[in-house]
Amino acid sequence: MNQKNIDHIIELSNELRWQIGDDFHDTLTESMYANASNIVKNTVQNDNSKKRFQLDSKIDQIVTSKSFGFPIMFLILGLVLWLTIIGANYPSSLLANLLLDTIYPSLKSLALNIGMPWWLTGFLIDGVYLAVAWVIAVMLPPMAIFFPLFTLLEDFGYLPRVAFNLDALFKKSGAHGKQALTMSMGFGCNAAGVIATRIIDSPRERLIAILTNNFSLCNGRWPTQILIATIFIGALVPKSVSSLVALFAVIGIAVLGMVFMFGVSWALSKTVLKGEVSTFNLELPPYRPPRFWKTLYTSLIDRTLIVLWRAIVFAAPAGAVIWLISNINIGNESLAIWIIQSFDGFGFLLGLNGVILLAYIVAIPANEIVIPTILMLTVMVTGIAGGEGTGVLFELDSITDTAHILKAGGWTLLTAINLMLFSLLHNPCSTTIYTIYKETKSVKWTAFASIMPIIIGFIVTFLVAQFWRLLA
């Protein structure tokens, strides 16, 4: 290879470029299209009764229409949630029965028989094992229902239509229209949503999508929302409509999350992440009937199990921490009590309490263990009967029992509403934080993504608490 000859070729090309003028690109593209239509002309025969295309465009006219597009979207979201909530109940209690009521006691008696010291039993079985068991029992069934449902919708071809409907809103927020897709993924799991942002080409818009994905209420937080809404908000209305009202309250929180997502995206694109909105082609693919069993299989393997595994990895040390702070005493009170008392003042300002704040610190690894942690700590603080013992995670079977404990812990309607708000607006779980770091490779943006939502959460709950007390 001769460098001089290559330079000659490049010089020659520069010269020729001048000669042929600057419409080269367009001319070439035009000839390509002409060639293509020539080839197709005598090979493709199109029967003019294009029935299927018409059906597709009929469906599109409805699901992307100005008046029906959004209601249909919320209806489908509500339906998927409803199926997840209803469907997860039974397998959840089955798993809880197996992991907590059968395996847990036998592990305890096994430890007793081999003469394991009490602190090791407590640390390993009451701490690590129980936390992992809780995450599996609470998290696996809803994920195993939500992800396949979501994947079926995706395979059918509905998601690009959602992106199409939301495109204008995202554009106004200075974000990419494909963020609608990653936002939807976030409703299942924020870590999965963050990974899905790879479909966004522009680094600026991708970063916005990553930073705001936490505003999609994830699977780990749905159960908390549903439980608290049922106990405190559903109870405000007659029994016949209480579950419906509770469902609406939860959907309201989810929609509020979307409002924050648009708001924060807009603020970011106007300040630190300034730039043009990139245009993109979104082809609306034909609707395809999904292959049910195949979809079920791949979504279980690719999504559910991978996300579950990560949650387990992070839940195990959290269980150990919960047990430790409840069993290490300073003076004559446990470490947990000390922390709760020092948080109580700040908690009151936010309309929450020390128990909730501590629970959120302990539950950073997995949002699923927030409610069990709150109940355990509340029982410990109030000293009322119930539960399994110091530092042992539990969840009560009947909602009335849970309500009883929470009300004994001084909970009011304000506490409930603010807990729901705080559950939406706080730092992402450590799985998501780790994923954000892996995707952005930036400590700065990972820190921002972790701290920004919690500051918003503090501000919102503080304001709600002040107005509430002013008006009440």
């Binding site: 290879m1 460098q3 000859n5 290559i6 000659h8 070729i9 490049i10 020659l12 090309s13 520069n14 020729l16 470029r17 000669q19 042929i20 080269f24 690109h25 001319t27 070439l28 593209t29 000839s31 390509m32 002409a34 060639n35 293509a36 239509s37 080839i39 197709v40 005598n42 090979t43 493709v44 025969q45 199109n46 029967d47 294009k50 029935k51 299927r52 994947t151 995706e154 395979d155 059918f156 071809g157 998601l159 690009p160 992106a163 494909k178 897709l181 899905a196 790879r198 479909i199 080409d201 082809e283 693919p285 034909p286 395809r288 292959r291 195949k294 791949t298 979504s299 393997i301 690719d302």
Partner: protein
């Protein structure tokens, strides 16, 4: 990612070409590299799964494949590594996915390129096909989604299309594993040289441009006598593509 294979399917002649072994993600010691290119949402990932036995999730929305997926299969004792490229409409712009696909075709030098097209939208898909055929002459057209084409009453004269394009055309419905054995057989024939393609090259370009291209191609061929895509390089040089200019300087293209 799931790599376990169903053994009954693996041996069933109804589903597989004779002598086929799907290798999942195990792609070491391969004899040939096969690239999978095509427009978004033409079912590339489904073809990929059908060839490798992998069960990667395929979604019904464009741009689903975000990471380059690799897998393999063995056919008649030769091993093939399969690379699933991101779906693109063209190779002429500088967006990230188009560059990734183009770079692999240019620098990865696949032994065979499978171009997956949507049989329902052949004309639109041909734009990319013609560009790929300027880069490589070892290609097979996978005419996918034939089941949908049938429902839409679109019929395609496969033999004439194949003659026009100068490469083999295999109609498939990858979702139902139809046409996959034929596709594998054709890939092997191109890879081991029993089937030689004479791909269609873009015609009817305005006189002055065609002349400029001819001058450049002669010069390029003088320097690199064995290069298969001198005309494509000429196109890119005339466009002033700095990426290609640099690649030419560093000798990456040979």
């Amino acid at each position: 990612m799931e790599t376990k294979l169903n053994s009954t399917c693996e041996t069933c002649t109804h589903f597989n070409a004779n002598g086929l072994k799907k290798l999942g993600i195990h792609t070491h010691n391969f004899d040939f590299v096969v690239a999978l290119a095509g427009n978004p949402n033409t079912g590339k990932s489904t073809v990929f799964n059908a060839l490798t036995g992998l069960k990667q999730h395929t979604g019904n929305w464009p741009g689903k494949t975000v990471i380059r997926a690799e897998g393999g299969f063995e056919y008649k004792t030769r091993k093939y590594k399969l690379v699933d490229l991101p779906g693109t409409y063209s190779l002429l712009s500088t967006s990230e996915d188009e560059e990734a696909a183009r770079n692999f075709l240019l620098f990865g030098k696949p032994n065979v390129t499978v171009i997956v097209v949507d049989a329902n939208r052949l004309e639109r898909n041909l734009n990319l096909v013609l560009q790929i055929l300027e880069i490589t002459d070892k290609a097979v057209l996978c005419l996918n989604l034939m089941d949908e084409a049938k429902r839409n009453h679109v019929s395609i004269d496969v033999r004439t299309l194949s003659r026009n394009l100068g490469i083999p055309v295999v109609p498939t419905s990858a979702r139902f594993n139809q046409g996959i054995p034929e596709l594998i057989h054709t890939i092997s024939e191109i890879a081991n040289g029993t089937l030689v393609c004479k791909p269609y090259r873009i015609q009817n370009i305005p006189q002055n441009i065609e002349k400029a291209i001819k001058v450049l191609v002669t010069e390029i061929k003088k320097e690199f006598p064995h290069i298969p895509n001198s005309r494509w390089i000429a196109f890119r040089l005339l466009e002033g593509d700095t990426h290609i200019i640099n690649a030419l300087r560093s000798g990456e293209l040979v």
